[in-house]
Amino acid sequence: MSQKELVFRIGGAAGDGSASTAESLAKVCTRSGLYVFTYTSYQSVIRGGHSWVQVRAAEEPVLSQGERPQVLICLNQPTADIHAPQVRENGAIIYDSDTIKLDGLRLAEGVRKIGFPLGRLAREFSNNALMKNTVALGAAVRLFDMDLAVVESAFATVWGDKKREIVDANVKAAAAGYKYVEENGGSLNLGLRHSGKARLLITGNQAIALGALAAGCKFLAQYPMTPASSIMHWMADHAPKHGVVVKQVEDELAAINMAIGAGFAGVRSMTATSGGGFSLMVEGIGQGGMVEAPVVAVLAQRAGPSTGLPTKTEQGDLNLALGAGQGDWPRAILAPRNTDECFRLTAEAFNLAEVYQTPVIVMSDLYLSEGYRTVEGFDFNVPIIRGLLAADGGTAKDKYLRYKITESGVSPRALPGQPGFQFDAGTDEHDEKGELISDVLAGIPEWVEIRKQMMDKRMRKLDGLRRDTKGPELWGPEKADITLISWGSTQGPLREAILDLQEADGLPVNSLEYAYLFPFHADETTAALKRAKRTMSVEGNFTGQFSRLLTAETGIRPDHFFGKYDGEPFYPSEIAAKVREVLG
């Protein structure tokens, strides 16, 4: 992107505090009126190893984590060794001159080495070893021409009024770093305009949780697993006030089964996990399809297979979501493309789950779930559509049929506690009343027919689900040399690559983006791809799981495939490079 931007990176060992320092800077950027995007590269250790965070901010919406930083804070020597050579021309490296050396590293032209005794300076304000990060943060704030008063207000929010001494000490430490840069070269003169308009800075998981609350979710059962855990953390913090039961349970089997129990009993309920936990949920979620109980299951993907790379991103669980549960049952799979959609699609998932009385899967990934992004605001006017209930469905009590065969496949739902509507929800095949046909009736001609009718009834819900969800969005110029096909969180880097290709090479490229994966929108897809000159699907997995779905549903096979499965997010530059290569 040629627009003015700020790219900041901080690295150290786990436990060195890179994440919280980066978060503070992201907040300062937000309060300076900038759009922000963060990416945290961390490892599955609590102490040691190497982790780093990148914060990118600009006057316009930011689509990806960006590439080389202008400012780097090194909290240890390996950070300098790994990242210093990547700092851009005329950028700056902030480090503790007592402990870190930049000697022998190949730096770009004009990179300023801002080495000063961070640790020693910090000890003047606090004994906390992490205080040196705040000194470095103050230095970065000066380089970026931001205001110390904004830093103070950000600290006040982070620590609250109760910990005034901590806020004061941090403000002083930041001022010391700020002053050092002031006296040693001053600003980097990036020329970003700051304003006081603070938008929202929020992670995908927080937006998912917020969307769930807005939609009236009352029950969350979850078992910790990266990168889904912070949904539970945020919900647990807010649950008592909003009358939500948040339950950390013994395993993911319990999580999905409890959530289905709660959904059956009439509350909007949810569970969230990553691929490993979702693998444990497959029998349970299929049960939801069979007993026609609403539930929302968030599947925040990380790199597999098996335990895989627990702290790295991937889009490798689509086959799992598509195939979860034995037999055929109607499901919807939604994949938010960005943080705003994390909120909207989660809220929508609750409506779809209740209207169609079936499980709905919301798929994000580590990149989207854990990254902080700027959002303008959320529309809390979320419609709450509870679907067909027995009380208002005009059903005569004495012949209430919970699983009545209807054209839409949806039957009026009674909730336990409603007098006269008692029924049995059965995971065995059952008749309209809910009584089993699996034991003594299966195979008898009349009941063979009923089995078929019950299957048809449930599967007809897919037509409604397709009608109530949207087809893919074609983004970019109408006429393009190549159409890039993507789903979920790939949207941002992909759009940025398209803008860059247009600007740098004059190449017209567009994208066909999917947020509603299943039921698949075959007609819209075929229509859109008919107009495409050439196609390439871009997915974060090895086999092209979405491309295969697309081919299975339309018979169209994308001309090219760009799959990424190294655990790292897509970078716009690599997508652009692939497009150039393909168009040769």
């Binding site: 929202l200 807005a214 939609a215 029950f219 319990a254 929800a425």
Partner: protein, 297 residues
Amino acid sequence: MSDGKTIELQEYKSEIKPTWCPGCGDFAVLSGLQKALQVLQIEPWNIVIVSGIGCSSNIPHFLSSYGFHSIHGRAVPVASGIKLANSDLTVIAAGGDGDGYGIGVGHFIHAMRRNLDITYIVMDNQIYGLTTGQASPTSEKGMVTKSTPEGVIENPVNPLTLALASGATYIARGFSGDAKGLGDLFARGIKHKGFSLIDVLSPCVTYNKINTYDWFRQRVYSLEKEGHNPSDYLAAVARADEWPNLDQKRDRIGLGVFYERNDIPTYEDLEPALKKGPLVRQPLGLANPEELLEEFR
């Protein structure tokens, strides 16, 4: 009943006739449960019976209450979700020994430690009935089954000592040969506030030729008649530990309430979100959403 009329026993029965083998111990469990519900006069629509998979797990279909015939081993978490969603309901989980002490044993332990106010009835026939006679977690050591032609070489689970160790607050054992006793144990368990386990010795007449009605009759005795005090934890452990065991000659089986504590808060009592009543009755959506956004600015 809400209009003051007594609910008759008949009103707890459904039109569906059980498909169990004649003589199956589960018949007595069904009638005992119907009797207990009638004694307690709980409206059928305020009851949910949740089961797993197995012969015994067919039980919800034979009662006129709401039923959830779930998947194998998951009756307890489904029941827990229902109870948390609508704590006004009487929630009863029911199923087999394989369901509860085998595939579902993790949930069993955690549900007890949570002390949710649900009642769990396990029809313990020491065999996998529905899958035609394999060993179960409670099969006796040495028992020959389809899956153990040389005899079981594992030690059986003792559900009662497990329950005592896990924090259940009502722990009882019944016997399908004593239908009256079953009704009483169920009624007391359902009334109990907290997690109730009733392990029922419920013979499988088709696949378990060892633990038969006669075999049990020779060994059972009433805890109450021997003056057992259910509030005495250590006495309960000693009684629960008695079980016909080839290695240690303790050839007797106590029936009745082993342990009961009524002074321990239930999970629902402690859950802050339920202070305002059952979740199902709380309004949907956010009253003051903008307030939630402050932390993100």
